[in-house]
């Protein structure tokens, strides 16, 4: 995963060729950055007993505070003490709850049971006799096709606040294997998101997914997925899942002809256009809420969690924390709604994990559990899998907290007061915008890149935000904002001096 996989890992698909740092200087710089980040967000590692191949693929808190962990080989384990003192094998215990599952790639606790998406169904697991081992494996949602191609991953589920169950399905990418017993002829809903309202059957929601390995809700209960650069995807993306939209990957469109499809086939897809041009040109096309510029903010986003910890995780309440596979790191997303549609900015957040960050989960105490596994793809780090915990140390990093779009400008809000002299100096800032090719071919370079001239900088009276009045904002483009010259009131540079805003819509236009 460098892409994750298409595995969903992005899952990824085969591609992989991201470009993490290559030179010794780069390694030294990366280490220095990890050192700086760790002042604010501390990382701890859960030891794992020998013989337990704990490759996390799903994380869920149980009502009693224990943590359920789905693992890729098809089991669910329960960790008794995920929070609290520094974990050691003397003070934590793992017990096996379920086994024999087929590549579970998600986990949720919902009304008295654990739910996990296996290759061919969402299964509801319960222990009915009190021995803490599942004895009931009931089919909770199914009905999508499974060709046998390894990309046929199913991710989830997540439950939204109304109790609707959601899954995302990797598109097949390649041929269905033909072998004895493999008799199915069609494989509906590959590359779709699906939902199952309480008491109703599973139904398709949106089309155009590739390797949507991360699935989750934001603080409003809206449902999002991450997807992976590849065919039809110029770079990685965060998508708002909702009924009837087409996210961009064409393979799924074949199922628009099914009567249950809420998506109208957009017709032949134009070639030679950009993703910015695709908005409005392709009927039903919904651009990503956020593009993650490739190698600038990761190379393979996976699971993510919304920070609704009442500030126990620091100053980024209601933001999404996105596990990054290739770079073994976590990125951060701020979302806002413009004209009823989500868009927003992404930022690097914390690096230096032991392996690919595939799953994230906030514990009730406000620490973020990271489920890491890189088997089959690739990541930085020196372990093939790990379970770690990221805790806010109580110190506030100097960061761009949010970037908000305004009719004529961006408002950048910081986590602490800025030094007005550096913030007001236009030399402290550098802005540019770019888009991507919308194409069947794999990935895309950044195209149509242009500097965004800064006309004026206005600082808020409280010195917590700056408005950047720009010339030539381009809707549909990713706007990069670099603020290397800014200092905090205490003279500190930004921990991560850049952010990337996906300007699908300019407010008021």
């Amino acid at each position: 995963m460098i892409r994750i996989l298409s595995f969903a890992f992005a899952m990824f698909a085969a591609s992989l060729a991201a470009a993490p740092p290559r030179s010794p200087t780069a390694a030294t710089n990366a280490l220095a950055e990890i050192e700086r980040e760790s002042r604010f967000y501390a990382l701890e590692t859960f030891p794992v007993p020998e013989g337990l191949k704990l490759e996390p693929s799903g994380l869920a808190s149980l009502p009693d505070g224990r943590l359920a962990i789905a693992i890729r080989k098809g089991e669910i384990w329960i960790l008794d003490k995920p929070a609290g003192e520094k974990p050691s094998l003397a003070n934590i215990k793992y017990t096996r709850f379920a086994s024999g599952l087929h590549e579970p790639l998600g986990l949720a606790w919902h009304s008295g049971a654990l739910y996990t998406a296996q290759r061919s169904e969402v299964t509801r697991l319960r222990d009915t006799n009190g021995d803490d081992v599942a004895d009931e494996y009931l089919a909770a949602a199914k009905g999508w096709g499974v060709s046998g191609n390894y990309h046929d991953y199913a991710y989830g589920p997540v439950f939204d606040p109304k109790g609707n169950l959601w899954v995302t399905l990797n598109c097949t990418i390649g041929k269905a294997p033909r072998g004895p017993g493999f008799n199915e002829k069609s494989f509906p809903w590959r590359g779709w998101s699906m939902t199952k309202p309480p008491g109703a059957p599973l139904r398709p929601v949106s089309a155009g997914l590739r390797s949507p390995s991360g699935l989750g809700t934001n603080h409003r209960g809206d449902v999002f997925a991450t997807d992976q650069q590849g065919n039809w995807w110029g770079t990685n993306a965060l998508l708002h899942l909702r009924s009837g939209v087409f996210h961009g990957h064409a393979d799924s469109l074949v199922d628009c002809s099914r009567p249950e499809s809420p998506v109208t086939h957009p017709g032949e897809l134009p070639q030679g256009i950009t993703t910015a041009q695709a908005i409005g040109k392709i009927p039903g096309y919904a651009p990503p809420a956020v593009w993650f510029p490739y190698n600038k903010v990761g190379a393979s986003p996976c699971g993510f969690s919304c920070n609704v910890t009442a500030n126990k995780f620091g100053p980024f309440e209601n933001q999404l924390f996105v596990g990054e596979f290739t770079y073994a790191s976590v990125n951060r997303v701020f979302l806002e709604k413009i004209d009823g549609e989500y868009q927003g900015a992404c930022f690097r957040f914390r690096s230096g994990m032991k392996s690919a960050v595939f799953r994230t989960h906030f514990l009730p105490d406000g620490s973020l559990i990271l489920g890491e596994t890189n088997r089959g793809w690739n990541s930085l780090g020196t372990r093939s899998y790990a379970l770690q915990r990221l805790r806010w140390t109580g110190q506030v990093p100097f960061e761009m907290k949010t970037i908000e779009a305004q009719p004529d400008d961006f408002r950048v809000t910081f986590t602490g007061p800025i030094d007005p002299a550096t913030a007001a100096a236009s030399a402290s800032w550098s802005l540019s915008s770019h888009t991507y090719k919308y194409q069947r071919a794999y990935g895309s370079p950044e195209v149509e890149t242009k500097p965004v001239p800064l006309r004026k900088i206005t600082l808020a009276a409280d010195n917590l935000s700056a408005r950047l009045h720009c010339t030539g904002l381009r809707p549909g483009f990713v706007h990069e904002i670099h603020a290397d010259g800014i200092r905090s009131a205490a003279g500190e540079p930004l921990l991560h001096p850049e952010g990337y805003y996906t300007l699908n819509r300019i407010p008021g236009e």
């Binding site: 991201a18 020998e50 191949k53 024999g100 004895d135 494996y137 499974v146 390894y150």
Partner: protein, 333 residues
């Protein structure tokens, strides 16, 4: 096998450069605890010494100082560079790579040829700089060694050495290299007297919705959770889980037996509802057929014969299984 190595098979390793070769952890271990894990071919054993801690530390400091290399060998083992991936290292060590495993065993598995030093503990034992130094120029650094200069003229030697180091660091979590990996490393063996194994997988002969059931007496079954019917029965060994548990490509698992029997399938319309595991661990499959909930299980009787229990609504029936001409059929008892 010491004879294959000449003096190297009889004489303990030279102490030249030991201060930049071994980690402090390993030196301590050798001097205080003695050791014999890494050179299975060598009969000579290091005696144990009762060295006071301060003297031991002083000795190690002195060795480190005396054996410093100028300039030191630089190697990046941060895991923060793009090429430092454990699986590349695994490929290099295996039979399709540099074939290290011809001479070096790992994790208790012996080398394919005459075994030289076992590499399981390498990252605890060796300093990374030494590891690189010896791999780049084995004969110059350890005169008389049988280690061939495998990295000579390899343009990416430095990166490859870092990849091998990463793999050895992740060795406890990763598969053995090709050559040492054996069929059977991932075999599922239902334990005698234990519970049956229920295992969902892509399965040859059944399809993408298979649920395999392995019973300790050695007769195994697979249920197709798509069409909701029994699909396959076989006798002998159960399944190898490697393609399901450890492969990216999800190749279908195969029954580990040729003694296979197919159930005749029908096209009745059924809807899968899941399964429950009974106190003995046997799965009872649940599906709806014609509006009625069916509970369907096959379990071995004490006699070893299999018996199917079928509950439709309130009606319970039992069937035996008749095997003939590679086909399995149910007969009402």
């Amino acid at each position: 096998m010491a004879e294959s190595y000449g003096d190297f098979g009889n004489i303990p390793p030279r102490l030249d450069h030991v201060g930049r070769r071994l980690t402090r952890e390993w030196l301590r271990k050798i001097l205080v605890e003695g050791h014999g894990e890494v050179r299975p071919y060598l009969a000579t054993r290091m005696p144990h010494y009762k060295i006071p801690v301060d003297e031991l530390e002083a000795l190690m400091n002195a060795l480190e100082k005396a054996d410093q290399r100028d300039p030191p060998i630089m190697i990046d083992v941060s895991g923060l560079l793009g090429h430092q991936r454990g699986h590349y290292g695994r490929d290099l060590m295996g039979t399709n790579g540099l074939n290290c495993i011809t001479c070096h065993g790992l994790k208790g598995r012996r080398a394919l040829g005459a075994p030289s030093i076992d590499l399981t503990h390498t990252v605890r034992r060796l300093r990374p700089g030494w590891f690189k130094e010896v791999l780049l120029e084995p004969k110059a650094v350890q005169p008389g060694t049988l280690m061939p200069p495998l990295f000579l003229n390899r343009p990416k030697a430095e990166q490859e050495i870092e990849q091998i180091w990463t793999y050895l660091k992740e060795l406890d979590q990763r598969r053995l290299p090709n050559g040492l990996l054996r069929t059977g490393d991932f075999e599922l063996v239902p334990a005698k007297g234990g519970k049956p194994i229920v295992f969902r997988t892509f399965l040859e002969g059944v399809g993408t919705h298979a649920i395999a059931v392995g019973y300790p007496p050695g007769t195994h079954l697979a249920f197709d959770s798509q069409s909701c019917q029994w699909a396959l029965l076989w006798k002998g060994r159960f399944l190898d889980a490697m393609s399901t548990w450890d492969d990216r490509y999800a190749t279908p698992a195969k029954p580990l037996s040729d003694d296979l029997y197919r159930f005749r399938r029908d096209k009745s319309d059924r809807e899968f509802r899941g399964y429950r595991r009974t106190a003995t661990g046997a799965p009872v499959f649940l599906y709806r057929e014609g509006g009625v909930l069916v509970e369907d299980s096959i379990v071995p009787l004490p006699s070893g014969e299999l018996q199917r229990s079928l509950k439709r609504g309130d009606r319970i029936s039992r069937q035996s299984i008749h095997l003939h001409n590679r086909e399995a059929t149910f007969r009402d008892d």
